[in-house]
Symmetry: C2
Subunit: 66 residues, 2 copies
C-alpha cells in the first residue's frame, strides 16, 4: 500500500467529506479528509489505482487538487 | 401559499443547498437557498405544513435556524 496526502480546495462541510471519501473509496482506496487542513490523506494500492486517478476522482466531485 | 425567509447558519456548499431544499421539499414546500445571504426563502401551504415544521426539517439536516 502507498500513501499520499493531497491538498484540496473547496471542501467545506461534512457533505464534502462524504463526497471525497466516497469517490476515493470507489477506487478501492481509503481517504481521510482534514477540512481545516484542506487536505486528503489517502492510502491506496498502486496495482489498483494511481495518483492521477485519485486526483481525477476528487476533481470530478467539484474540488480543486492543488 | 405563504412565504417566509429564514436565517440559517452553517450552509456552506452545494451539498448543503441540496440537503436543505430537499428537506423542505419533503414537506410539500419549495425552498431557495441563498448561501452568501445565509438565508432560505420558502413558499409553503399553511394547510400542509407550518413554520415550526419547516424549521425543524432544516435543523434536522444539521443547520441552525437563527
Amino acid at each position: 500500500m502507498s500513501n499520499i496526502t493531497l491538498k484540496v480546495e473547496g471542501m467545506s462541510c461534512g457533505h464534502c467529506v462524504s463526497a471525497v471519501e466516497g469517490a476515493v473509496g470507489k477506487l478501492g482506496a481509503s481517504a481521510k479528509v482534514d477540512l481545516a487542513g484542506k487536505s486528503v490523506a489517502i492510502e491506496y494500492d498502486e496495482s489498483k489505482t494511481s495518483v492521477a486517478s485519485l486526483k481525477e476522482a476528487i476533481e470530478d466531485q467539484g474540488y480543486d487538487v492543488v
